[in-house]
Symmetry: C2
């Protein structure tokens, strides 16, 4: 399970939305890009990934449609909505402040 599986908990939505900010994409490919970006150190488990898609779609952050592949397995593409873009920006801001907060809280202060 390599590092940090627990620490990334809660960032799944942000990660997926970030991937979709660059354009429509489908689940398998999104997960591949996450693995590449982290040099194989992290990946979303499939169950987690697809649960997140349902959650985000129900929340109106993304919409989906079937691709029209003539060959290979079918793909369900996801598209970020305007609301999703807002949510993404909000999550980014929250992450920035949470990061500072956590840094402040877990460092031992030298007085």
């Amino acid at each position: 399970m390599s590092i940090a599986s627990d620490l990334i908990r809660g960032h799944t939505d942000s990660i997926i939305l970030a991937r979709l900010m660059g354009g429509d994409n489908y689940g398998y490919e999104i997960n591949k890009s996450i693995q590449q970006k982290t040099d194989g150190k992290y990946e979303l488990k499939e169950a987690t990934l697809y649960t997140a898609f349902r959650r985000l779609e129900q929340a109106g952050c993304i919409s989906s449609y079937w691709g029209n592949e003539r060959t290979g397995a079918r793909r369900r593409y996801y598209s970020i909505t305007d609301s999703g873009r807002d949510t993404y920006e909000k999550l980014i801001r929250e992450w920035q402040s949470a990061k500072e907060m956590i840094d402040k809280l877990i460092e031992t202060e030298e007085e």
Copy 2:
């Protein structure tokens, strides 16, 4: 509930251990110090706090003893163990790398 309640999920143990690196302390006071450090933007909920103490004690990261107050409510003090110190250092390192990883994953890349 202010910011980032969800984002700090999973950092409870690190936060508590960090507080105890500075010396023994008791629950109520630990939580107060967290509120102060974050200017009231964050606090551990009591249920979360005491659950974490049990978890950490069972894991051998901390030990506890009753204070001998002559007045006021009784206090249970916690002390970080050597094993707890190791765990703390490990969690700090994991946080550093998780932070980088998340930053990389949630930013939209400009190519």
